[in-house]
């Protein structure tokens, strides 16, 4: 991605490789202002990205498997517990504020 002024077909090819290889941030950071402008104005680019996503999904999506769903579930549960805690804390502080106001 060393080329500074990439044509739209090069940008699409680089986006496709970045998405396939899981390094989208690298592609996003590599964009210059002129390249960003040409992406914005190119209907072809946006249409092509749709197909690239589908190709990525059909070609590589199946390889995504969680090694341990149980571990993931405990992560989700911890996230939920922390949200519950936050909600309770904010409810308590709201109640306290209301009581202060009534006094």
């Amino acid at each position: 991605m060393a080329n500074v002024n990439r044509e739209i077909q090069e940008l699409l090819a680089d986006y496709a490789v970045a998405l396939r290889d899981g390094c989208l941030p690298g592609f996003l950071k590599s964009l210059t202002r002129d390249e960003a402008k040409s992406i914005k104005g190119s209907e072809d680019f946006w249409e092509a990205t749709e197909v690239v996503r589908l190709m990525n999904s059909a070609g590589f999506g199946e390889k995504v498997v969680a090694p341990d769903v149980g571990l993931f579930i405990s992560r989700v549960d911890a996230g939920i517990a922390s949200r519950q805690k936050k909600a309770k804390a904010s409810m308590r502080s709201r109640r306290r504020n209301r009581n202060h106001a009534n006094l």
Partner: protein, 190 residues
């Protein structure tokens, strides 16, 4: 719809937060593969997909109102994408955006797009469809796409096709647009 998933959905839409928390485990077990594969379409990175999905499930627990009348798995995926995943996908690179040349709107369109052609098609169907469409391409076009899908770099593809990297990128771009035309025809026929 799978009985396990239907029961989990029923528990998830309960007004009681504790019941919803208990229903989350069977729901995650029933949907994890479907959801993470769908997210992979937009991020291409397993670690980021897991992080996003973790927030998606917590959002579902917090407000499951959109999941009340789910008819089938495709409907579920569509609803989850539109109401939960897109919001989270938009946030993935938001912090990075301060240093990017791409506008916020373009970044969102790239990472969390509106539903496009075949966006909700399952992987198995997509594979079949793509296979059929590749068969209609010229040999050189098909080879380039097949090699790309095998994970080859553009330089390696160029070496195989005995051409330059620039020519390969142009060939890929034209072929992808051709595939898009075929997809559009397929969707219209369908």
């Amino acid at each position: 719809m799978d009985k396990r998933l239907r029961n989990a959905l029923r528990g998830l839409t309960s007004p009681d937060a504790e019941s919803r928390r208990r229903a989350m485990e069977p729901f995650v077990r029933a949907t994890f593969n479907m959801f993470i594969r769908h997210l992979y379409r937009y991020l291409g990175n397993e670690v980021e997909c897991e992080d996003v999905l973790e927030d998606v499930y917590a959002d579902i627990w917090e407000d499951p109102s959109h999941l009340r009348d789910i008819a089938n798995e495709r409907h579920l995926l569509r609803t989850v994408y539109l109401y939960y995943m897109r919001k989270r996908l938009r946030e993935v690179y938001r912090r990075m955006n301060r240093n990017l040349s791409l506008s916020q709107a373009d970044l969102e369109n790239l990472v969390a797009p509106e539903l496009g052609l075949c966006e909700m098609t399952s992987q198995a169907e997509l594979k079949q469809l793509l296979h059929r469409m590749l068969g209609k391409l010229k040999s050189r076009e098909r080879k380039a796409i097949e090699m790309w899908m095998q994970g080859m770099s553009n330089r390696a593809i160029a070496n195989q096709l005995k051409t330059t990297v620039g020519a390969v990128k142009m060939l890929e771009f034209r072929t992808i647009l051709k595939l898009r035309g075929m997809l559009k025809d397929y969707v219209e026929e369908d």
